[in-house]
Symmetry: C2
Subunit: 351 residues, 2 copies
Amino acid sequence: ENTFDLTSHPHTRLNILTGEWVLVSPHRSKRPWQGKVEAPAQVQRPSYVEDCYLCPTNTRADGSKNEAYTGPIAFTNDFSALLSNTPSGDVDEDGLLVAQSQRGLCRVICFSPRHDLTLPEMEVPAIRQVVDLWAKEYEALKAVDYIKYIQIFENKGDIMGCSNPHPHGQIWASENVPMELEKETRQQKLYFDKHGKSLLSAYLDKEVKEQVRIIAENAHFVALVPFWAVWPYEAMIISRRHVQSVTQFNEEEKTGLADILKQLTIRYDNLFETSFPYSAGMHQAPVNDGSEHPEWHWHMHFYPPLLRSATVKKFMVGYEMLANPQRDITPEFAAERLRTLSAVHYKSRQL
Amino acid sequence: ENTFDLTSHPHTRLNILTGEWVLVSPHRSKRPWQGKVEAPAQVQRPSYVEDCYLCPTNTRADGSKNEAYTGPIAFTNDFSALLSNTPSGDVDEDGLLVAQSQRGLCRVICFSPRHDLTLPEMEVPAIRQVVDLWAKEYEALKAVDYIKYIQIFENKGDIMGCSNPHPHGQIWASENVPMELEKETRQQKLYFDKHGKSLLSAYLDKEVKEQVRIIAENAHFVALVPFWAVWPYEAMIISRRHVQSVTQFNEEEKTGLADILKQLTIRYDNLFETSFPYSAGMHQAPVNDGSEHPEWHWHMHFYPPLLRSATVKKFMVGYEMLANPQRDITPEFAAERLRTLSAVHYKSRQL
Ligand SMILES: O=P(O)(O)O[C@H]1O[C@H](CO)[C@@H](O)[C@H](O)[C@H]1O
Ligand SMILES: O=P(O)(O)O[C@H]1O[C@H](CO)[C@@H](O)[C@H](O)[C@H]1O
C-alpha cells in the first residue's frame, strides 16, 4: 500500500513536552515476534535483611541507625550528589569553558519497612502514605529559598542502577532548573500563553477520546503511552485536574494517585511476569523563581528498558546517543498490550 | 576551603556543541576508590566462526552469501530502521499529535574479515582502509538527493547493544537532520557567524594550551575528554583542520585519523584491561540542504559506559533521564588516567 500509515511506515513523532523528536520504525516489529514471554525464576526476597542499610533498625553507610519504622520514611542521602554548603562561583573562558556552582539537597525515601515489597505489591493505603510523604518532603524542600526545582524519582531494578532492592526512591533538589524541566516549561508556556489552557489538558482530551494509547484510568488520573514514547513500554500518568505540584492534590486525588500507581505498575509486572524495572519520576513546576507557573501541569514519567522479555532490553546506544532516539514497536501496540493485561498481580494469582 | 573549585565542588558545565548542561559531582569521587582495576578472563575469539552472519563466505539473515572478502566491506542492513520506499505523508492533530514520514538507508560496515579483531587490535593501514570505506560510503549516500544527514557509527560490546562481536559499524542516512545534529549545527553557526572561525578550532586551541583534558595527539588530530563530558571516559577526536566531512581529508589526514583511532582505542582497552565497550560516531555537516555549512567542524564522539572496572558501569537513569545528565569523576581526572596509560595494547604486552 502506498499511503503513509503510522502503524507500518518509518516516521518521526514530536514530543510536545520537550519539542524533540523520536524516530519510529514500526516495520521492524513486523518481523516474527522473536522475544519469548517467559516467566523467569522468582527470587522471593525476605521481608527483613540483616545487612540491608535501608531495613528498620539497621546501620547506614554514615554510621547512623535507622528507626524501627513502620511506614515510609525519608532521610538525607549519605552520598548526595548535591550539597547545601557548596561555595558559589562560576567559570567562563571566552564562552568555551563554562561552568556554574550548584547547591542542592538529596533525600532518600523508603517506601516500606518491608524489604520484600515493591509499589505494585503494596496496598493502596500504604502507597497513599508514600504520596503523603512525597508531598511533605516537597513542601520542606520548597521552603529552602535557593532551591529552584525538586525532582522526585525512583530507580527500580538493578538494570536501572538501583544497588539496593529495598523499595525506595530519591529526591534531588537543585539550585538550577534541570534541562528536561527547562524544555517542558518552555513548551507548556508557549501553549498556555496561546490557548489559555494547559498543553496536557488538551492532549489528555484527545487521548481519552481516541483511547488507543490509554493503559488505565480512574476518576482523577489517566495512565497512557504517550504518542511520542521513546522507551518500548514508556508511560505517563497525567492528572485530570490541571495543578502545578503534588501538594495541590486533595485527599481524594492523593488516594487516586496511589490507585493509578498500583494499576500501572501491576500491569508492568504482569507484562513479562517479572518485577518490571524502570526509572520513574514526577515532573512539576519550578519553585522559588517568582512565578506561579500557571502553564505547568503535573505528570509522572515511566521509562522502563525491557523490550521483548524479562531479559531482553532496548539499547539506547549508537544512533540514539549520536543522532536521535529510535523505537521499533509503536506506542499504540505497547498500550494495547499493557491495557489488555490482568489488573491482578501475577504473584497473587499464583497463590 | 571556601572558594569554588571545579575539582571538588558540585557544578554544572555547558556543552558548547549542544547548548545543554551536565551536572558534575566531583566530591563523590573523593570517596575511596572502591572499583577494582581488574583484568577479567580474556575470551579470545576465533578468527572465523561458522554461524557468524558477518564472517566471509557465510550466509546472512536475508539468505544472501558474503563474499570471501579480505578488507572492509559494506552492504545494506538486513533489518534497516529506515527504508527508501516509505511513502511521504504527515500527521498534525492540533499540534498535539504530530508525525512525519521518514525515508532513509541503513548500511553495515565490516571492519575486517577477521572475527577476532577490533579497531585497537588492527594495524594502522588496515584501519586506514576502514576510513577510506567510510569516505566512499559517505559520497555514495550523499548522491541520494533526499538524504539530509549521514550518521556513521559503531556500537562495540554487548553492553552497548551489539549483538555480533564481528568487528563492524553502521551508517544510518536519513531524510531529516537528527536532533543532536540540529543542536550542533545551531551552536556552531552562532559561533561562526559571530567570530568568523569554527567553534571547535577555538575550543581546540584552548585545550591544546591547557593540556589537562588531552588524551593523545598527532599532526592532524587531537583526542581529548571534552570539558562537558557526560560519560565517565567520554572522548572526542577533533581534526586540527576545519573541514565539514570525512571526504575532505587528504591522504595524510586519513592515515592520521587511522592512527589517532588506534591510539585512543588502545588506551581504552588498557584502562580496565578489557575490550572496552562504547558507542562512537562521526559528526559531520548535513548534506543536500543547499548550504555548504562553513560553520561545521568534523569531529567524532566516543560514549563508553564503564566507570570503575570492566564490570561496573555508570547508569544513566532516574535523575539523568528525568532531569539532567550527571557524572562523578571529573573530565580532567578521566583524561589524566587515559593519557598516562601505555600506548601499547595490553594483549601484545602479555605475549
Ligand atoms: O542495529 P542493531 O545493531 O541490530 O541494533 C543496535 O543499534 C541500534 C542503533 O544504535 C539500536 O537502535 C539498537 O537498540 C541496538 O541494539
Ligand atoms: O544514587 P544512587 O542510587 O547510588 O545511584 C543511581 O541513581 C543516580 C540518580 O539517578 C544515578 O546517577 C546513578 O548512576 C545510579 O546508579
